[in-house]
Symmetry: C2
Subunit: 164 residues, 2 copies
């Protein structure tokens, strides 16, 4: 059971500031509160491989994500190379579009599936239906939180730029 | 209590086809099943005023919408000049962004509020809280349905274009 989700928010900051926030993966631990640590494993002009340590409901989980960066289209395609315990597949895009002068349409998509059960259990604890429901709820919750975190950071930078 | 909502979908059709569907307001009665009739009251290159007759839960309702068309930004800002019985304010944008070759990011936003009660009742029937909850649920439901209707129509046109 594979799912696709898309979420969006309007950011009152120009595209270049939003893009700076998206590309700065090491800054994620500062702007996304559940992200405790980011280890950059590989980096080039067009890709990053990172290990993320994230607080998931009070429990630290960790996964490895590859991010392919298209600075012309302003798209970052992410894909988890090593997933969290209940996740079978997790990928998607960050996309940023210019919206007139000084505003940006920011989009976050997810393509995902819960992990297949082993001996009837996912991560040794959950039925597939439970894991699937938990994952869908987490994607919904995190999409809103992550978009708003980028929006807040980019709008703060825009205000500081204007004030400078 | 004023609300803002944004929804989005990826359309596998080029921007010009999506834009044609959005601008063709007379076609809405064909692509949006609840829309029974569209009367074009005014039209110019940059605006339309339309009366829509829409099936809302089995009951025909009607309202008048002004649409300001920005063909350069591919944005249509709509605003209800005369609202449905429980609606105090309803407006927002259709926005279309090119996403690489042959794909489009389609966004629909809503800024809305339920109508203020008269003698404690909205539309003579509902408490403000009920009207507010009904309106939020309708916006959520219609956003998904309307985005998917435009997506389906534009993708059908793209396939017909390829087949031609």
């Amino acid at each position: 059971m594979s799912h696709h989700a898309e979420h969006t928010v309007t950011v009152d900051a120009p595209l270049n500031l939003v893009w700076d926030v998206l590309v700065d993966v090491k800054g994620y631990s500062r702007i996304f509160p559940p992200t405790r640590e980011v280890n950059l494993l590989e980096e080039s002009a067009t890709h990053q491989v990172v290990r993320l340590h994230v607080d998931v409901g009070g429990e630290e989980q960790s996964w490895v994500s590859r991010r392919d960066i298209d600075p012309r289209q302003h798209v970052i395609a992410y894909s988890q190379l090593e997933t969290a315990p209940i996740v079978g597949r997790m990928g998607g895009d960050w996309r940023a579009f210019p919206l007139g002068a000084g505003r940006t349409q920011l989009v976050l998509t997810h393509d995902f599936a819960a992990r297949e059960p082993v001996d009837g259990k996912v991560a040794g604890r959950f039925s597939f239906e439970e894991a699937d429901a938990m994952l869908r709820a987490a994607v919904e919750r995190n999409s809103v939180a992550d978009l708003n975190a980028v929006k807040t950071e980019a709008e703060d930078r825009a205000q500081r730029t204007e004030g400078a």
